[in-house]
């Protein structure tokens, strides 16, 4: 059961480290699933309904990968910075694509 993700810098099992990762997986992880799903749907070529359905179907795989990432990265700081960066990047990208596509 000894895993680095549950331990602090001194190698002790830390409730705080576990809680922080659980929260990261649940809240920003779920937000990122949605923002990356929207980004994917808008980035895919072709019929919009097709893209939305594909991205939605894939969303649970995306979420699963995010959760696995949250629990495999060594440093907590990387988890939170990476999560914030990815949410900003995907939602910004989605906004850009949406604006480009809806302008005539």
């Amino acid at each position: 059961m000894a895993s680095t993700v549950t331990r602090n810098e001194r190698g002790r099992i830390s409730g705080w480290h576990i809680t922080s990762r659980v929260v990261a997986a649940l809240i920003p992880g779920f937000v990122l699933t949605n923002t990356s799903g929207v980004f994917l749907a808008l980035a895919m070529p072709g019929d919009v309904l097709h893209s939305v359905a594909t991205a939605t179907l894939l969303s649970f795989v995306i979420y699963c990968v995010i959760v696995m990432w949250v629990f495999s990265v060594e440093r907590l700081k990387t988890v939170w910075l990476g999560m914030t960066g990815a949410i900003v990047a995907t939602s910004g990208g989605a906004w850009l694509l949406y604006t480009l596509q809806s302008s005539p």
Binding site: T4, V5, V38, L49, H50, S51, L57, F60, C64, E74
Partner: protein, 542 residues
Amino acid sequence: MNGAFRQSMTWLHTWTGLVFCWILYFMFVTGTLGYVDAEIDRWMKPEQIAPQQAAPAEAITVAARYLQREAPGADRWFITPPGGRDAPHLRVFWQLPTPENAETPPDPESLRGQELLDLDTGEPLPEVRETGGGQVLYRMHYLLHYLDRDIAYRFIGVVTMLMFVGLITGIVVHKKIFKEFFTFRPGKGQRSWLDMHNLLSVTSLPFQLMITYSGLIFMVTVWMPGIALGTFGFDVQRTQTVLSEAVGQVPTERANEAAPLVELAPLLADAQMRWDGAPATGVEVRLPGDANAEVAVNRSEGIARIGGGGFVYNGVTGDYERAAPGVPNAPIAIAATLIGLHEGLFAGPVLRWLYLFSGLIGTAMVATGAVYWTAKRKRTGVQRQSRGYRFVDALNVGTIMGLPIAIAAYFWANRLLPTGMEHRADWEVHAMFLVWGLCLLHPVVRSTKHAWSEQAWFAAAAFALIPVLNGLTTQVHLGYSLRAGDWVLASFDLVALATGIAFAMAALLMSRRAAGREASQPVELEDELSSSLNTDTGAAVA
């Protein structure tokens, strides 16, 4: 793959698996029973008349006559002609319009109605024994019975997602997935539980992935509406319009002008001709009695049961209007297929048994995983005293053994509660959960070591005696069903008996193991000591 990554994934697998494993076990057990829901229905309604057969056109006429009388101003009627295992009787369903000037919005349940009709009399089948049957039992696996529907869906979504993460991390942590397929070391405590868990999971992996992912797809509108919404610029109206157009739900506006509904039988005949002779499997009448009425004649076949296509007719003149659109695109077809695979309505007898076994393997996978968690910690005396260990250990007994006992109690209640009792169907379920509650308390009061075998013996008796109970309380016992060749009824009793025997064997094994462990403990210690001494001396010699 580096060691640290595998370690963190092992940790994730352990905890995503453990945290809701008892709910997962409950979902697997009740969901698996869903593959024989119609058969359980049949056993739980022993007085119900035998399944009826009729040409769809004839059945539809009976249904329409009944609905004209009972639900004339409805928004929709759904008629399912009898045929096959899932529809032994003619079934009608209606949805009344929401009253416009109601002060408080009425309970949506009060606007819906459902009946099984007798083809000979055109009246609802007399309900002698009010029961939830197999339907209530199987719906528990996603409604959890006592919870509000919305809360249950959300919670089930979370549990299913944890199961999915558990499956994927379970695959990732395997170094030699192929080798472990052939590895089983019985009688070695902790190792055996792990081997069993691996063996069950690897052999049934395709089923587990299918059932879990399709389970998530059922929850897609509850948990993942954000992606569609975001893609359409958070415009709720537009999102709804696009999505309902995609699945062919064109809203029919009420004309508020009365017009008699067309005769339905000729429409069925027309549709059957368009399908080269294949009969319809369902009819939907929208706005019956209104000038804008429409009749959709549907046919579903194969694996995917949604978006199967059909024909739409004018509900007053009977003119052919259009073909209902089928599945609009590939991803939605995939979703429909996954949902069809999850429900398994297409499965014939052989495939249905296979579904049943796959579900049981999934159940055993969850159970062995939960037991392995305790088996692994049992060896270190310190952890054995911890609150977490005792909590998991007690829940394991009370659920792994207790839930089957509770389900037996559901069947016993069906036979023992007085037939005229009020809220009888509710009390069948209460009986089930009361018994489960007792089974959860039992290992807390008694030690878990004794509780395992005691509950196994109890489960053995509870199932093995079901045929006896059935013989004492009804006319449809094995003596009748075997002679009459009524295999649905006979199978229920025989499977209950076999389940009882299986539990008895498990109980015997557990009692013997527990007795053996007590007797052999000092020897084991000695063995370990001597073997460690041997290695020490070996090292010294080298």
